[in-house]
Amino acid sequence: MGEPFLRVTAETQDHDASRRRPVQTLRVKMVLLGSSGVGKSSLALRFGKDQFRSTSPTVGCAYLTRMVHLSDVSLRFEIWDTAGQETYHSVTPLYYRGAHTALLVYDISRRETFVRAQLWLKELEKQYIPGSTVIWLIGNKGDLSEDRQVTEQEGRILADERNLFFTETSALSGDQVTELLLMIAHRVNEHMGAQQGGLSEWRGTSCVDLHQNNNIKPFNTCCKM
């Protein structure tokens, strides 16, 4: 992608960084979609902590954050990873609500997850998600190439047809994960960054007053056209 000056740091290191560079920090809501077992939680964990652990199936929603610094702005990704949300089909629109980016994940070693991903996409398209939402098709478990059931070509073709971005990753090895996050950061920033006013500003936990907090509906305000 040729953006060598960009870097991704974990949020803990972020305080110094933002002091050195007093750039604006914007909040980005990211949701992970896809069949269960494709590696959504593992990707979220890579994004949030750059770790890989064998995890149990997710219960409810897991919430992680990750700061990404671009040259002119910092993005605070608020990553929502859900468990079996495929079982809550009637409420999925709520899940998409206010998402700035949706990652549509399948497992390259299980064709049915690729098929399911297309159903997910139909669902997504049926909803009134803003056109600016960055949707990314992700073929995960790239390390399992000997068990591959979905070629990279197929993934790319689908992505092109539906106007999605596409990447193959491995949450296990970490391959393409950081790169993916950076690419997403760029697209989100382009589509709805400071100029477009699509993202709300993050003021950090220390500034948030508990009493006011009840009124904050962070994502509704910015994305419900």
Partner: protein
């Protein structure tokens, strides 16, 4: 030894004389005979290559009989004769001569283990509700436990293998229409015809206006529990009482309710009788697996009480205060947990006035946390129902570890507001901050369970003490205290053996037909004494050489020690806060306000 035991039982029974149900009723009415026959036919029909039974259980049984002798004598039991009469090949045609296994046939039924259940059911005597359920002792004791406690998944197990049958306790959940929902071992698909047999049995008995309750066969107890549209079945060789097994099934039911709510389950099945509930429970099997492992290994479930980590009174108070200060509207419970034990719990004032938090609800929460390592990755927001609090409503649980990467100290905040994630997460940050200032984490890290040696009674090896004497207006959670299990109970097998002894004592204390207040039980490798009064329930384990007099002295000493230490061993007074004008309206009062049966609401947060 023997007579000691008898005397003691007899003396103590004076306290509680309800010998009315002593007569044993053997049910051999024709309907259950017919049923047994029809089932054996069904079994043979469906599973032609019905195998011969496991012989290993026989040698186990004779060991057991020897060990159990003393306690058998005290009950007019027919156990020994039953064992002989119901030998493996006795009476039931399990092996039709004219069938051969056909390799080519890949029908599901072929590879099923329904024969195992059918065979068992066919041999069994049916005991139905409303008729005396006695007629057996519940001996256990040296029963081996070959099951490794490893947390590996049993989903992929071959259900035709002998090892599958040998599991000490199977648990199945199915819908009224016979659709498989959960099986502890082996996948539900592979077991679908087993489940079908069970369902046939249940509906057969239902049609006769009897609700099937349990079936005994040699070495196995089969217990049924029907709750709404769900049927739960336990097939156990653990020699626990029917009552205990049913209690465990109830925990399984509650854990399912905690994920889906009773209201939505009923609605789903009203709507579609043969709905496949696994669609909604996908990914939750591990939670049920974890629950069943806990039920087997943690006496909290047996005692229906929570275990809290011993802490100095001042530390516990300071933790409660930290929780009390970090509040937001609609927050109703704040719970701190370390090493899977309670540190403290703070409750909303009006909620606590309204109701007492049930230990079972806390157990389900602890299991949920323990069963999902996913929680360690970030902050969790999940809908959860506390079935004993209100089976039809969700709370929203915020779960986060306070000491990454160790992940031993866990904070659990429950709100009635599904949109409250950010507000509740903010409470966590406050708590975290206060705990840093007060160095609470390092103090918690030092807290440990205690050793029985601290009691200073030489022959005492272990005990479990559950007090009842908390004044009711405190609305205190039922708790118990128990030292670490130490040698000779350090191996998993020995731990389980001691727990089995406790379970046996417990079943006798709580027997519906012949409850006892005090049991002095001389087993082969230890002597146990169980005692229940209006103030407490106590189970103690002594070295085998202890005399009765010594045991009594020891217990006096133990009770004195507990009294002295109680501020440290128990959460004495439940802490409160006030966050909601009327939380009972939103959480407990009206039935759930959900329109959609599958909407558990939490996604609207996102």
């Amino acid at each position: 030894m023997l007579s000691l035991h008898r005397d003691w039982d007899d003396i103590m029974e004076k306290e509680d004389h309800q010998q009315g149900e002593e007569q044993e009723v053997k049910i051999c009415d024709s309907s259950s005979e017919t049923l047994a026959t029809s089932l054996s036919l069904l079994g043979n029909h469906m599973f032609p290559d019905s195998v011969q039974r496991n012989d290993s259980s026989d040698s186990q049984l004779s060991d057991l009989a020897a060990a159990v002798e003393p306690c058998l004598k005290s009950e007019p039991s027919d156990h020994v004769t039953r064992r002989e009469n119901e030998g493996p090949e006795n009476g039931v045609p399990t092996q039709p001569a004219d069938t051969e296994p056909e390799d080519a046939d890949v029908e599901n039924e072929q590879s099923d283990s329904g024969d195992f259940v059918a065979e068992m059911l066919a041999k069994a005597k049916l005991e139905e509700q409303g008729i005396g359920l006695k007629g057996r002792s519940s001996p256990l004791l040296e029963a081996g436990n070959d099951e490794s406690p490893a947390l590996m998944s049993h989903r992929d197990e071959d259900v035709t293998a002998e090892s599958w049958r040998q599991h000490r306790k199977h648990v199945f959940v199915l819908s009224e229409a016979g659709k498989p929902i959960y099986s502890r071992y082996g996948s539900e698909e592979a077991l679908s015809s087993t489940m079908g047999v069970m369902m046939a049995l249940v509906s057969f008995v239902q049609s006769g206006d009897n609700v099937i309750r349990s079936v005994y066969s040699d070495g196995h107890t089969v217990v049924f529990l029907q709750k709404g549209p769900l049927v739960l079945v336990c097939v156990s060789s653990s020699r626990q009482s029917e009552q205990q097994l049913r209690g465990e099934l109830l925990y399984v039911y509650y854990q399912i309710i905690s994920m889906l709510t009773q209201a939505s389950i009923s609605r789903i099945f009203e709507h579609k009788k043969n709905y496949d509930l696994r669609r909604l429970l996908a990914g939750s099997e591990k939670i049920l697996d974890g629950l069943l492992n806990l039920v087997d290994s943690d006496p909290s479930f047996l005692l229906a009480a929570v275990h809290c980590l011993p802490l100095t009174c001042s530390l516990r108070d300071s933790l409660s205060q930290i929780l009390q200060k970090a509040i937001t509207p609609n927050l109703v419970f704040s719970i701190l947990i370390a090493k899977n034990q309670l540190l403290t719990i703070v409750q909303e004032k009006t909620v606590i006035e309204d109701t007492r938090l049930e230990p079972a609800d806390v157990h389900l929460l602890l299991n949920l946390i323990g069963a999902s390592s996913a929680f360690q990755a970030g902050e969790i927001w999940t809908p959860i129902c506390l079935p004993l609090f209100n089976p039809d409503c969700y709370f929203y649980a915020y779960i986060s570890y306070l000491d990454p990467p160790d992940c031993t100290v866990c904070l659990l905040l429950l709100s009635t507001d599904k949109e409250a994630f950010y507000a509740v997460a903010e409470c966590k940050r406050k708590i975290e901050e206060a705990m840093v200032t007060q160095k609470s984490l390092s103090l918690i890290a030092k807290a440990q369970s205690y050793s029985v040696s601290q009691v200073g009674v030489s022959d005492l090896r272990h005990f479990m003490y559950k007090p009842f004497d908390v004044p009711d207006h405190y609305r205190q959670l039922s708790q118990f205290t128990s030292p670490e299990m130490e040698a000779p109970y350090s191996s998993e097998e020995e731990k389980m053996r001691l727990l089995d002894l406790y379970r046996y004592m417990h079943s006798r204390i709580h027997s519906t037909s012949r409850p006892l207040k005090l049991i002095y039980h001389v087993a082969e490798r230890e002597t146990l004494l169980a005692w229940v009064t209006s103030k407490f329930e106590l189970y103690t384990c002594f070295s085998p050489l202890v005399t009765k007099a010594c045991a009594i002295t020891a217990i006096t000493k133990l009770l004195r020690w507990i009294k002295k230490e109680e501020d440290r061993l128990f959460i004495r007074y439940p802490a409160k806060y006030s966050t909601t004008p009327n939380p009972s309206k939103s959480s407990r009062g009206a039935k759930s306000d959900q329109q959609d049966s599958t909407d558990n609401g939490f996604l609207s947060l996102l």
